[in-house]
């Protein structure tokens, strides 16, 4: 089959990543940069999750084998498929990427809050959050370095 169909998820994730990176690097506004960074990180999460999807699968919360619920979940799938890839008569999606991404989301919010707090302090110290203006002031600071502080 066509790559655009079989790998649609991955391609969409690539587009999202590009958007995130573009937002990050095309603006001088520190807050907007953080938003771009968050977008970039989230798209990585989407990538991992896409990797772990098993077609016809269900969330990796175990269902008692041979319960009506389990049978209902297996019903629309090919029995040999369930036999081969299922566990206890149910096909589950891969839990490992979910665990990893849980961690990554947490890291994302940690980075976001630390980054924003630094941006707030920058606003207090420089009176602006535009990178260009900050650089201009910082250059003056550097030039001042020779003189007495």
């Amino acid at each position: 089959m066509n790559v655009a169909v079989t790998h649609f998820n991955y391609l969409a994730v690539v587009v999202l990543m590009m958007i995130g990176l573009y937002v990050l690097f095309s603006t001088g506004n520190l807050i907007k940069r953080m938003i771009g960074l968050a977008l970039f990180q989230t798209s990585t999460a989407l990538f991992y999750i896409s990797l772990g999807k098993v077609s016809g699968g269900t969330a990796a919360i175990k269902i008692y084998p041979d319960s009506p619920e389990a049978r209902a979940l297996a019903a629309p799938l090919d029995p040999t498929y369930v036999q081969q890839f299922g566990v206890g008569g149910v096909v589950y999606s891969n839990p490992l990427p979910h665990v990893l991404i849980l961690t990554a989301i947490v890291v994302g919010v940690a980075t976001l809050s630390v980054g924003l707090s630094i941006a707030v302090r920058i606003r207090e110290a420089y009176g602006t959050v535009e990178a260009g203006e900050i650089e201009a002031v910082a250059r003056l600071d550097t030039a001042d370095a020779g003189r007495d502080p």
């Binding site: 990543m17 990797l51 940690a110 980075t111 630390v114 980054g115 707090s117 420089y126």
Partner: protein, 506 residues
């Protein structure tokens, strides 16, 4: 290894758990520091914890010397299922390095913090410091690619804030910390992305398992891109040449304790992880060779030349040292890119040498900063007369950086050159020579100002730093000297490290 036998007094029950205690110790210490009532207590906690981590690191190193490789399965689950720590000689060396710098930094922080960080922030600062220490130690020990990301972030998140705290002295620390955060997070995310591709290709996160599966799999586009992203992501953290933009500002702006610690450990841990991936995980074959000789080596060479030139034209001492760090990372990676046992061991030896001397240099600058607010080379002129001991230590570090004989830096440069000559890569020798010359120029500029000029405006008010600051400074400078004369210990450890790696060399 006799040294380890002598130092190695940990009871067997502790030794069995030493690998995890190296990491868990600072973690628990960070909590204790955060809970402690005042800065003094927090400092003591910091000292004790760092010393404990060093003790355990020594125990691990002794164990590795006996058994070559230690595997420690966390949670009692065997590797591909659970997370495992995997420590070989290189990991043990790195842990010793990081933990020693950690102890020196903790000792140093007793006095240095007071002049640079508000008293109310001391407890949290020490807590953050210990978290960074735990993060780097975890990064060095872990055998799991994703776990490495977690520790990368543990160390980074703490570091961003610690760098930003330097605003009390210099408000440029704030944008520098923000830049660092942006670069660092992009790097970490690229790393995760790369690990994701490798995971997609192999289905495992454990590095050993991954390497085994990659060896049978060969490389496809996902694997190649995965490795590229991993190295690019770590390259940001390691300040590999085009990705080093965050470093000068961060090192220059951070409180001096943080500069010391970062310069000596942060980039080194990332380089360590790059070595780990390139030599342990990469599948053998054309791709690895092309990567080393066509991407890594030219970039490293560019770093050596360009950043040394930038350091020559820089005015502020801390920024000179920071640009020099990027250049020195280039030296290390040049050695690594040779991919021969000699080149690799030269690279690793240079790494250790650079950690010690850059630590000493930043510490000495911090020692000056306790009494005077000096920034530029001009400000420092004649400071040797007012603060002779700190200046002497600075001189030793600078001599080592410049590659003066009888210092560790000389041995490191020498072994790099001979390794390059051995492979016949003349252009690398030329780059090394030009780089060393440029290093001598900026080192000479700083030393000339400090030792041979009349005291300037800033230096007049300088006083000698207290003993608490001088002690760790002298240890680091002394090690640079001692290992320059008698390098048996580092050389034996480095050789053991390299022989552990080189079997898998591409």
């Amino acid at each position: 290894m006799i040294l380890f036998e002598a130092l190695y007094v940990a009871p067997p029950a502790l030794t069995a758990q030493a690998p995890i205690l190296v990491i868990a110790g600072p973690l628990i210490g960070a909590c204790a520091a955060a809970l402690s009532p005042g800065g003094r207590t927090a400092w003591m906690v910091s000292m004790l914890t760092a010393a404990f981590a060093l003790w355990m690191a020594v125990a691990v190193a002794g164990e590795v010397a006996r058994e070559d490789v230690i595997d420690y399965a966390l949670g009692g689950f065997a590797p591909p299922m659970g997370i495992a720590l995997r420590i070989d000689a290189l990991g043990a060396t790195m842990a010793l390095l990081v933990a020693s710098i950690g102890v020196m930094g903790a000792l140093y922080s007793g006095h240095a913090l007071e002049s640079e960080v508000k008293a109310e922030k001391h407890t949290l600062f020490q807590s953050g410091y210990l978290l960074c220490l735990a993060g780097f130690l975890g990064l060095v020990f872990t055998g799991d690619a994703f776990n490495a990301f977690v520790f990368l972030e543990v160390s980074s998140i703490g570091t961003y804030a610690l760098v930003a705290v330097g605003e009390a002295r210099d408000r440029r620390a704030l944008p520098a910390a923000f830049n660092y955060l942006i670069f660092g997070t992009v790097g970490a995310t690229l790393y995760v992305l790369g690990v994701g591709f490798l995971y997609a290709a192999t289905g495992t996160l454990n590095m050993v398992d991954m390497a085994m599966r990659l060896a049978t799999l060969g490389d496809n586009s996902a694997v190649q891109a995965g490795l590229a992203f991993v190295v690019a992501g770590l390259g940001v953290k390691a300040a590999m040449f085009p990705l080093h933009g965050w470093l000068p500002g961060a090192y220059a702006g951070a409180p001096s304790l943080v500069s010391v610690f970062l310069a000596a450990t942060a980039t080194k841990a990332a380089i360590y992880l790059i070595i780990r991936f390139v030599f342990d995980v990469f599948p053998e074959g054309e791709f690895g060779e092309i990567f080393l000789s066509w991407i890594l080596a030219p970039l490293a060479a560019a770093a050596v030349i360009i950043c040394s030139v930038q350091a020559v034209f820089e005015k502020e001492v801390r920024r000179i040292l920071a640009f020099s760090s990027v250049a020195q990372v280039g030296f290390i990676l040049l050695g690594v890119s040779l991919a021969t046992p000699a080149g690799l061991s030269a690279g690793v030896f240079y790494l250790v040498a650079h950690a010690l001397m850059k630590g000493a240099l930043f510490m000495a600058v911090g020692a000056f900063a306790i009494s005077v607010r000096a920034r530029t080379v001009e400000d420092f002129s004649g400071i040797a007369r007012e603060a002779p001991w700190s200046a002497a230590a600075f001189g030793v570090g600078a001599a080592s950086l410049g590659g003066v004989p009888l210092t560790m830096g000389f041995l490191a440069k020498w072994s790099l050159v001979s390794a390059a000559l051995e492979t016949g890569e003349i252009w690398i020798v030329a780059v090394l020579a030009i780089g060393s010359l440029l290093t001598l120029i900026y080192v000479g500029r700083m030393l000339e100002a400090m030792f041979f000029r009349a005291p300037g405006r800033g230096a007049e008010r300088a006083r000698e730093a207290p003993v608490g600051v001088l002690a760790p400074l002298f240890v680091l400078a002394g090690l640079s000297l001692w290992f320059g004369v008698d390098a048996t210990l580092p050389v034996s450890m480095v050789n053991a490290s390299v022989s552990a790696l080189v079997g898998a060399a591409p």
